[in-house]
């Protein structure tokens, strides 16, 4: 791919938002978006974990999986690298930044199972990004995810005072809104294409 890391960063936020174009990371997106504050906390945690794990997994892929010819095991390896890193991060934050732990750390276990993290690692391999591109793509995807969950949280706050048909309350109306948001984001896609 001969696309600059800078362009990739912005593209990951807007034109190919990991959540609104690939619909990855939906379960925590739907469950945590009830409150803006916790959405923000989770979003920041996702940005951080995405950036670091895409770097880690890029290194693991190019220096372990490729040389030893075990690329077919990338799914398992990526997952355990993500899980171990998140666990490690949780311990670290709990020890050295208790204040951060109470706002951000408690969301870390949720992130281990967030498929957006794993999805980004796979995309960077499939699309053959270099190290810098991978980090930019990871960070951009994270910010895109935060943007999407904040938008939904804001809409859901407005929605609390509105009459929503019984059967649509909760996840139902959230998914419909997400679909409309995704259509809105198609408007950005003319700017740049990365997939």
């Amino acid at each position: 791919m001969d696309i600059s890391a800078f362009v990739l960063f912005w593209a990951a936020i807007f034109t190919s938002n990991i959540l609104l174009t690939n619909f990855l990371g939906m379960c925590s997106y739907l469950s945590v978006s009830r409150e803006i504050e916790s959405s923000f906390g989770l979003g920041v945690a996702v940005i951080f974990v995405l950036t670091v794990t895409s770097a880690l997994n890029w290194l693991v892929y190019h220096y372990i999986l490729l040389p030893f010819d075990i690329v077919y095991l990338q799914y398992i390896v990526f997952i355990i690298v993500i899980a171990a890193f998140v666990q490690f991060l949780e311990l670290l934050i709990e020890r050295y930044a208790p204040a951060l732990y109470y706002t951000l750390g408690i969301f870390l276990p949720l992130i281990t199972v967030n498929c957006a993290i794993f999805g980004v690692s796979l995309f960077m391999i499939i699309r053959n990004y270099n190290f810098l591109q991978s980090i930019a793509f990871g960070a951009g995807s994270g910010i895109g995810w935060l943007l999407a969950i904040l938008l939904l949280a804001g809409i859901r706050r407005k929605l609390k005072e509105k009459m929503v048909p019984q059967g649509l309350r909760g996840a139902g109306i959230s998914l419909i809104i997400t679909g409309i948001m995704a259509m809105g984001f198609i408007g950005f896609s003319g700017i740049v294409q990365i997939q």
């Binding site: 030893f68 075990i70 390896v77 355990i80 490690f88 311990l91 020890r95 109470y102 408690i106």
Partner: protein, 367 residues
């Protein structure tokens, strides 16, 4: 080919091991909080290893805060007051605490981690809580799904409790159940017996502990329990009393009545016992015999679904409508409820409509 498979397996194992090793070292190094002090009620000070939850730290020190869910943060039984050193309130605690409790520094002991010196307040009665060894002395079938089991304490232990309190029974693994579980059951025998307790246990469909009790427990088996817990006991006033129980909720009321028989009382008491049909009634003769012992005591069984061929001639339907005749002065009446959460909330609502004060309605909910 086979070499490739083996080397790949070895490589995967190596990657896994390295990560696991990093985690173990990190755990050692990061979760080691050294020795911290736990100050209890400003009187006792314990020096413990930091890093664990408050609940586990205390139980290691033989102080047992009640907990029904085993530390998963779902039952809310392990509430205790943390004066300092508990850190900020966690989102996992918030749903189980009321506004008053939050402003009163009440926390869930299973969620608070002991990482620095901490000061807590717990009721003195918790120090009474012990772990007891016992053997099963007697098993009585009260109904088709309710058994009364007497546990005799061993090793020269004796138990001190108030009639109405409960213990937590530890079940043993059986069949497909690999783990021990802990479940709360009210003591149904009088506190005058210091060397034994009786529990009344209903078979809950698919209940881990009750199935163990009903299908596997035999006379002579060794059983452990901790206790006594709870603030469901008779208040020492001269107010009229309404007892309302259903199913195995008879247990704490039986203990209270048997205790009153020992010490004597002149209070007016009415005992409503709700059941589905005649086959769910038990200990009826014993309860009716008590009507002759006390000056003013009435036992009122009420069946919700009496079966025609049983020829039930007593009261039917819900218990609530019958309270009317039993309440002389709602402001001078205490109610003691014991049974399912649904029954408790329905009865509490009805009693408030009859004019009873909410703080005079005591209950033990079998969740």
């Amino acid at each position: 080919m086979i070499n490739k498979i083996l080397s790949d397996i070895a490589l995967m194992s190596a990657i896994g091991s390295v990560l696991a090793l990093i985690m173990v070292i990190a755990q050692r190094w990061l979760s080691n909080y050294g020795e911290v002090k736990v100050n209890i009620n400003g009187k006792r000070e314990l020096t413990v290893k930091g890093g664990n939850s408050l609940l586990n730290t205390l139980s290691d020190q033989q102080i047992f805060i009640p907990s029904a869910c085993g530390g998963r943060g779902s039952c809310g039984a392990c509430k205790c007051k943390v004066e300092s050193g508990g850190g900020p309130l966690l989102p996992t605690e918030r749903p189980l605490l009321s506004k008053e409790e939050i402003s009163g520094n009440i926390r869930l002991a299973c969620q608070v981690k002991v990482k620095s010196d901490i000061a807590i307040e717990i009721p003195e009665s918790i120090f009474n809580i012990r772990r007891f060894n016992s053997v099963v002395e007697e098993i009585i079938d009260y109904t088709y799904d309710i058994k009364g089991i007497t546990f005799k304490l061993t090793d020269g232990q004796s138990i001190d409790f108030k009639a109405g309190q409960y213990v937590q029974l530890e079940s043993q693994p059986y069949e497909k159940i690999k783990n021990k579980v802990v479940r709360a059951y009210s003591i149904s025998s009088k506190p005058e017996y210091k060397d034994r307790i009786q529990l009344i246990i209903r078979q809950v469909p698919d209940g881990i502990c009750s199935t163990w009790v009903h299908k596997h427990l035999k006379v002579g088996d060794k059983v452990n329990f901790t206790g006594p817990y709870g603030d469901f006991y008779l208040r020492d006033t001269d107010a009229d009393i309404l007892f309302v129980a259903g199913g195995s909720g008879k247990a704490p009321i039986k203990a209270i009545l048997e205790h009153l028989k020992e010490v004597g009382t002149t209070r007016k008491m009415t005992y409503f016992f709700g059941a589905r049909s005649l086959r769910d009634l038990y200990l009826t003769e014993d309860m009716q015999a008590l009507e002759k012992v006390f000056d003013q005591f009435e036992y009122v069984p009420v069946l919700s679904h009496p079966v025609a061929e049983e020829h039930w001639e007593g009261k039917t339907g819900f218990v609530m409508p019958y309270f009317k005749d039993a309440i002389r002065d709602p402001k001078h009446t205490e109610a003691y409820l014991c049974g399912s959460p649904g029954m408790i909330s329905a009865v509490t609502k009805a009693l408030k409509e009859y004019g009873l004060d909410e703080d005079k309605i005591y209950y033990d909910s079998f969740g």
